[in-house]
């Protein structure tokens, strides 16, 4: 069972529909108790880092989610803002974030590219991981973002995309995975990533599967 965190600014229904399409069991998570018994959890996100963080805190989800992910190793997938808030600090609103991963969230240089980045861009995979099974070396995915993460530890980077230079668009460290693009809205390739995550989560994030 994969929990999809639902809060006002998120697009949880899209992620839930996509999980259903790939044959995974999804359940909406609206409180800390809803996390009981899930094998993996997805934090979708649209909107601002600050709104997402306060929404997670107000619903009481965060206080249950944090130990499950950080101590119990619950497989976690953050999407878009759900990726950005994992890092230490975001330029967007100058807010401190969760700090589960080391690094910063910065804005694209608007003197060089249109901001936000909106549309399909190429994701180049840097290393292997079960979530990338059958994906080849690259693929196009759908983005809507003005900010992106800069991980402190280059080993956390799973994939990059070129927009005013390469930026980190996927990270993975132990049981924590995240993508800047919207895999729930990226056609067949996005669905495959989601299916791979669901399988990996349900097998207890064993690196060998």
């Amino acid at each position: 069972m994969i929990g999809v965190i639902d809060y006002k600014a998120g697009n949880a229904p899209s992620v839930y529909n996509a999980l259903k399409r790939v044959g995974a069991d999804g359940v909406m998570v609206r409180s800390g108790e809803d996390l009981d018994g899930v094998n993996g959890v997805i934090l979708p996100g649209v909107g601002s880092a600050e709104a997402t963080l306060s929404s997670l805190a107000e619903t009481g989800i965060l206080s249950v989610l944090t130990p499950k992910v950080r101590e119990d190793g619950l497989p976690f997938l953050g999407i878009c803002i759900g990726m950005q808030i994992l890092f230490e600090h975001s330029e967007e609103g100058d807010v401190d974030c969760l700090g589960w991963l080391k690094g910063q969230v910065v804005r694209f240089p608007s003197d060089r590219v249109r901001v936000p980045q909106m549309g399909w861009n190429e994701v180049v995979f840097r290393r292997e991981h079960p979530i990338l099974k059958g994906m080849g070396t690259s693929g196009h995915f759908y983005y809507v973002n003005s900010y992106h993460v800069v991980p402190e530890d280059a080993e956390d980077i799973l994939a990059v995309t070129d927009y005013a230079g390469d930026f980190c668009c996927m990270v993975q460290r132990e049981n924590i995975l995240a993508a800047q693009f919207h895999l729930e809205k990226s056609g067949p390739l996005g669905l495959r990533l989601l299916e791979n995550f669901a399988r990996w989560a349900e097998r207890g994030n064993d690196a060998s599967c």
């Binding site: 600014a9 697009n11 229904p13 899209s14 529909n17 996509a18 259903k20 399409r21 649209v46 909107g47 601002s48 608007s110 590219v113 249109r114 901001v115 936000p116 980045q117 909106m118 549309g119 399909w120 861009n121 190429e122 196009h140 759908y142 983005y143 809507v144 070129d162 927009y163 919207h182 729930e184 809205k185 990226s186 056609g187 067949p188 390739l189 996005g190 669905l191």
Partner: protein
Amino acid sequence: MLTKRLLACFDMRDGMVTKAHQFQDNFDIGSAAEIACKIYEDQIDEILFYDITASAEKKPIDLETVRTVAERVFVPFSVGGGIRDLNDMYQVLKAGAEKISIDSMAVRNPQIIAEGAKAFGSQCMILSMQVKRVEKTEKIPSGYEIAIDGARTFTGMDALEWAKRGESLGAGELCINSIDCDGTHNGYDLEITKLISDHVSIPIIASGGAGNPSHIADAFTKTGASAAIISSMLYSPKLPRNYPVSEIKDYLTARGIPVRPYLKQ
């Protein structure tokens, strides 16, 4: 590199896709949900529905169709037509749409753009503009006037000024809909599309008039448009022929225009 987007646009009336010529004389093509799924399977980059029942007849938005499409289509999906307030926007987003397109109501109440952007983020606010070529005057220096209500009412507003205002209020994208070119299949109005794309920094969607792939190539090479709306050429039985998405993408790729590659099944 960020690729250029192809948006399939449907006018929807009572759950059916309908097609107009210069905003009039509609005829039905088929079930909205079925056509959306078919075009998704054909690998369109994005889908946009205008609920013309809700906008023209002041009826509630057809959320059931929005939900059905959202369950079956996994590319960005936008809904416009008949959205009156923040609650309507919330309902449409919760039914599974990614973006909201607003048009006439934004002209009547520009603050709704700012309110929507604040509540849901600029990324889901498309400001759609009906533009018509007119004589250049002091009041309309761009030579393009904004119309509303299915091109029936002219506002005396300058299209370029309105575009800039929409951007500053928080719109995330601007859709430039040419009343003169709509349904003609003779190509987009490149002049106003270029003018606006040169003066705003948010993404511009060219709309109205595409009849074959060369029109799309023109929009991408002769203006700063990030996306182009196509409708008739995908599915209208009134055209001599229709074009599958793969053929359009092959055409654009051969001309060096970056597009999301068509996946071989």
